[in-house]
Subunit: 334 residues, 2 copies
């Protein structure tokens, strides 16, 4: 046989050996979760991953069922002093306002221009998304994606004076990579507009566009000037927030996650839905406790309010990450 390497290489055993070698090399890579201190959250995460990946263990979960979902705003990147998409939206609305004199009496428009967080929080995402849908109606999806890319290039966060995409959390990037290296498939499930994340999620998080679930407007297919195009319509198709998150997961993923991470009451139902499945489960919340390096807020916050989900997490023993004591680094640029 040794003079027939083709046969050897073709054999199933050899392929499995090569795969095992590749996975083994991966397992030896630099210390995972390096930006996490050796606190309770890191221990709980690593124990869960060890449990579900140990063949023969009663908690073992086959790789194809290792679905992990993450909220975006406040969980994977910052959301203060205003959801970053709202800032984009505001810039878009300002540009479109001359064509929409009727907006001067619109409550959502007035709150956005005034950056009235209290009013915005009270009305929720829907009226704001509706305004955006109207502002961008008639744009093709390609034009809209370009507008997002252009905005991200020049917009700067008011406090950190950096591109918004610099404000992704390094510990969460590490967690995503760690899960994937253990056979998990990682998804974003966000109340934000799906297009707003898809243009940068692969680069920032290693999550491709098709694994981003979010709120959506209606789009329409048509042939415009002989060229097929998808055009945005002034109507919300789906709001992926609160009770919408388990629905969004069902629609886009079609099965229940075993691992879910959020940071606010908008993630509560997603965590509940994840927790209610059979077998081992991991539910986590990022608690914003570091006003020096990032922001400190929870029950009283207008943006990213964490109240009922927190009580539930404490009652049920879910993981609550104390950002200040558990993350030795928050942003890569620190």
């Amino acid at each position: 046989m040794t003079d027939r390497p083709g046969y050897f290489l073709r054999s199933v055993t050899a392929r499995l050996l090569a795969l095992a070698f590749f996975l083994f090399c991966g397992a030896l890579q630099a210390q995972p979760l390096a930006s996490w201190n050796d606190g309770p959250s890191k221990q709980q995460i690593m124990k869960f991953v060890a449990d579900v990946t140990t063949q023969g263990s009663s908690a073992f979960v086959p790789a194809e069922d290792r679905i992990a979902v993450f909220d975006n705003d406040g969980t994977l990147w910052s959301e203060q002093p205003l959801y970053f998409q709202f800032v984009f939206l505001l810039d878009q609305l300002k540009a479109a306002a001359p064509k929409h004199p009727e907006w001067k009496d619109n409550a959502a428009f007035k709150a956005l221009v005034a950056k009235d967080q209290k009013a915005l929080a009270a009305m929720g995402m829907k009226p704001v998304l509706e305004l955006l849908a109207v502002a961008n109606t008639g744009m093709t999806v390609a034009q809209y994606e370009q507008a997002i890319r252009d905005w991200l290039k020049t917009a700067r966060h008011p406090r950190f004076e950096r591109p918004y995409t610099d404000l992704v959390y390094k510990p969460m990037q590490e967690l995503l990579a760690y899960l994937r290296s253990n056979g998990f498939k990682t998804f974003i499930v966000s109340g934000g507009g799906v297009e707003f994340m898809r243009v940068w999620s692969a680069q920032a998080y290693g999550i491709p566009p098709e694994q981003v679930v979010g709120s959506m407007v209606e789009v329409k297919y048509g042939v415009v000037d002989g060229r097929p195009a998808l055009t945005r319509l002034p109507k919300i198709a789906f709001v992926d927030d609160g009770p919408g998150k388990p629905v969004g997961i069902y629609r886009a993923i079609g099965r229940r996650p075993i691992f879910a991470f959020g940071n606010s009451d908008g993630d509560w139902q997603m965590l509940q839905w994840t927790a209610a499945g059979e077998g081992p489960r991991f539910m986590g919340l990022v608690h914003h406790t570091d006003a020096t390096r990032e922001y400190a807020y929870d029950r009283a916050s207008k943006i990213g309010k964490l109240d009922k989900a927190w009580d539930d997490a404490v009652a049920k023993g879910w993981t609550v990450v104390d950002m200040k004591s558990e993350w030795n680094k928050i942003f890569a640029f620190e």
Copy 2:
């Protein structure tokens, strides 16, 4: 260095070598597309795959952009004498009919019970999906998935007298595997109900639930008897057929495929949308030409009508598979 294997294994070079070895072993596996004769379709498929996977070639496409979409009914499995989901639906409706006396005047219900293909084809999928939505309202998604599984276990195709899932096309299973072994990510984009396919797509096609795009009913999240549940509502949320297919692709995948396969006019817009992208493209149609081993139908058929998309394919040089002469095997059980 040789006495420090850990360092060696940790190095990037070693990991890349292991990966290359693994991919190389895969490339040497048994002849791909074995059920395809050496006709024009097989040659076009293999040339396209060679072009987009050859690093340095002007047609090279990075692996993360190799998105391939497939219609299901008539493209990956049979659809005659009636879409298989319609047969399931009919059984579901018969079971639910005593609770819905109003159906006796419903055109879609009457056509289904009479298996009136002409009437069903004329009214399209929507009224039928609406009936189904009403029939199954109040079921949880878990109960509904179980009903599909139970039905698939006992239902038999009237001509082949086999489980419907035996009627998947072996050449298309091979094509899916061949694309994946060349770095493609494969999706189903079907006019059928998404749940109907998700329970068996992984086993039949190697396509996991989250890569199945289809028509959907509204579902609602709620806590029922202390347990979170998703319940089906009597309302269509999305029809993923015809012009709905590029919309479904945009919603679920978020970028344009480079490879699309269909078999009927319901796939026309999906093929157009795929063709209209930049760079190399592959558009294919399965043409049902084998009445002996499967079915022969095209322009005049009530189910799976192939007319405008065929003309467009011929005009634009898309691949049209002549099932009779190009597939040496259609079903694995032959």
